[in-house]
Symmetry: D2
Subunit: 254 residues, 4 copies
């Protein structure tokens, strides 16, 4: 019986600003990636969000990003590797303390935005992230883009378990990278299309590219974006379709 994890980025508010419908989304996923304060998510937001995830029985992960509140961590930056390592250690360490006090451990770490995208192709950056995570705990699972050998090897070198992530609501190019958000076909907001993509990913380990081709993608976890215009509709459709197709939806193993 095939199995897959469903994850979502949550806790992306800051101060007076909120973003996404975390509580509703947490009903459909098995893993939550909680923003750690550098691109979103102040400590009050983190405290509330980890409490919500723990109560929902969802595995709690850290979602560290570049120190870029203004750009929501989505702007490409050149940051020295040693600095990235310390920044990841800081953010993951802080998140771990919240996860522990809410009675659940920290399960995984998934880099956010530009940090995630750059690390898929930058071995030095990926190694810095993995070292930062491993310095908090070797028991954490590092999540990276399915198809990125760079991230997989960085996790292995740091002694971390690794989980490959695919996207059911984002378009893929022929190289297996996500279509830029500024391009057409970048975001899939039709629940049925996303649900079909999820089942194909979980069962057949394949995805259809924006160009119409077929791409082999072996994923351990599927991401559901909360900022999708129809996020909850997509989440419900994906979850139901996976269960109907006999896929076991469960969090990443420690």
């Amino acid at each position: 019986m095939p199995s897959i994890d469903l994850n979502a980025d949550v806790g992306e508010g800051f101060g007076a600003w909120s973003m996404g419908a975390d509580e509703a989304l947490l009903a459909y996923v098995t893993s939550a990636n909680v923003a750690c304060g550098f691109h979103a998510g102040d400590p009050s937001v983190i405290d509330r969000t980890v409490a919500l995830a723990a109560r929902a029985g969802v595995a709690v992960g850290a979602h560290p990003g570049f120190h870029d509140l203004r750009g929501f961590g989505r702007r490409e930056m050149r940051v020295p590797a040693a600095e990235v390592e310390s920044d990841v250690l800081y953010q993951v360490g802080a998140l771990a303390a919240f996860a522990v006090t809410h009675g659940t451990g920290l399960r995984h770490v998934k880099p956010h935005g530009a940090l995630y995208n750059q690390a898929a192709d930058d071995a030095e950056l990926a190694a810095a992230i993995a070292r930062g995570v491993a310095r908090v705990s070797r028991g954490l699972v590092l999540v990276g883009l399915a198809g990125s050998e760079v991230m997989r090897q960085a996790a292995a070198a740091a002694g971390l378990r690794y989980a490959a992530e695919a996207f059911v609501d984002r378009g893929y190019d022929a190289r297996g990278r996500l279509v830029s958000r500024s391009r057409p076909g970048a975001v899939i907001s039709d629940p049925a299309a996303a649900a079909e993509a999820a089942v194909r990913l979980a069962r057949d380990h394949a995805v259809r590219t924006a160009e119409g081709g077929e791409l082999a993608v072996k994923a351990d976890t599927l991401c559901l974006h909360g900022d999708n215009p129809n996020a909850l509709g997509v989440a419900r459709a994906v979850r139901e379709a996976l269960e109907r197709a006999g896929v076991s939806v469960r969090a990443l193993a420690r």
Copy 2:
């Protein structure tokens, strides 16, 4: 044989900016309070500073402050108690991760600047700080202003050990509060005067006030400020005078 801890605030740089002579100062103290990123101390600075303290055999503590980089955490602010609790939990959690990875545990937590000063007289704020610390670990020691019953009781209510702190390089008023930095007599930069004050505090549990009176002060730890114009001279004189007077200088017990 009387004993006392000597502590210093360290890691107060940020990005391209440095402050204080941490490495030299660490040779004279037994406890280091490391800034946690909210008023000073980015993750790179924290990483380097905790490494220095660990190598020097100095007990590592967290020094959380208000989220106020511009004001170095010295500006009085009215922050809701729940927010302070989450902020302290976040900062202490992050620092603890650095302390662990550098092979030493986190020993204590001392609030910084306005957070420290306000908490000495504000029971709700003190309780929020203590809860934030206790949610990371009940094994941490909370440090507060000697003479503040508010802080002592907050620590007790949260199940934390408590250490009372006195200052050898700051003037006291008749109430046992520090003379404001904007007033004359606020900072004592004469090494001999500071050394004498240290010995009196450690041995006789007393301090002379700025008004010339005598005040009973029972302290477990003495603070040496790194931003004192003659910080290293003061630190050396204090350490030597204490040892000459037969006072055992050692870190706070866990």
Copy 3:
């Protein structure tokens, strides 16, 4: 024929976060207070917001706040007067440049949140704000809480025109201060009640307090909050009621 200005706080998004329905709200007001980047409103938001206001023919004002993004400028802070003066000058100077390039001048300055509230009763703070504004231009109108002699005198001392502001969607206490947002009766979200309060303020110079009493309030401008749960309904009702009552709704004179 009585006349009054209607103002709203706009441009309160930041980075990826948005707040309020600025474009719709601008159809009902004659003055816009644009956040300046310290509590909300990054330069991209400011650029777009000033463009919207200019296109709508609404007078553009600056809405400077404390340097407190996390607390949205609503947390009480003790900031040295010289620092407040420089901070106001910086924010108003920046806003003025946007107003000029969008073909409209900067008309007025209204402090935000805690800065506004504290200045109503703190003469030193009010004077610092007024000096900061006057250093950009003596032609600007300073807006403060109706009933605050402190702000009126600070404006006069700095050579600035002054406009007194009242609130149609906030409750008043017997002293003429706003009921704290944490108390019941703080926010009035019923359009009819707000519209009635607006007409009474504009025509009769009076307001009913939360305690049920009557208070004389002489206002030059009325504030409509965009974060009111029913902000647009309130705005439309207020505007229509004022015009029906024969009140001329127009921006503050330079």
Copy 4:
């Protein structure tokens, strides 16, 4: 008689942190580039620094950077052009207000750090900077790297006067770009070497490269770095050598 401007980056402190010896350095230069708050320089620092420059009779310019306090604006970032334009407009507008209130106008704008370096080769970025500056005033002079046609053309397209800048205390590569600070030969701290380079630049329009070659460089202004280990010694030597060589040292013409 050849003439040249000497400029320095000043006002690079922030909050409790200071950097450089601005007051001493201002005695040797004719133009000051004042940090605008995004990579350094809070409003209090700006107020003091512009006052110092005005009193010293030095032309005041704005030194806008990326919104990156942590990285001091030195980290390469990919920021959308529209965002850069608004950010430059904001920073230059704020600085202009300080320059006016201190009785001197704003003369020039020189981008800082990574923004400056990236713009030398990125036409879209250079155009965004130039538009941001021109929206404040067409009377401002835009300063860019000597040899960068991209910046020269961006200034021309925006209707701005342009000044080419060369460096007397930084090494050049054969392409006319600065040697990266992480490489040997990046920083020249010997006063005599810097003074000789200054005279050659001002009189012969040439510079010796790190590789030992000769490069034609036509510069209108020479930069003296305040963070050079021997900044004041270099500044004095350069100024004296230029005057001894009969070069007229004066600010950029409006």
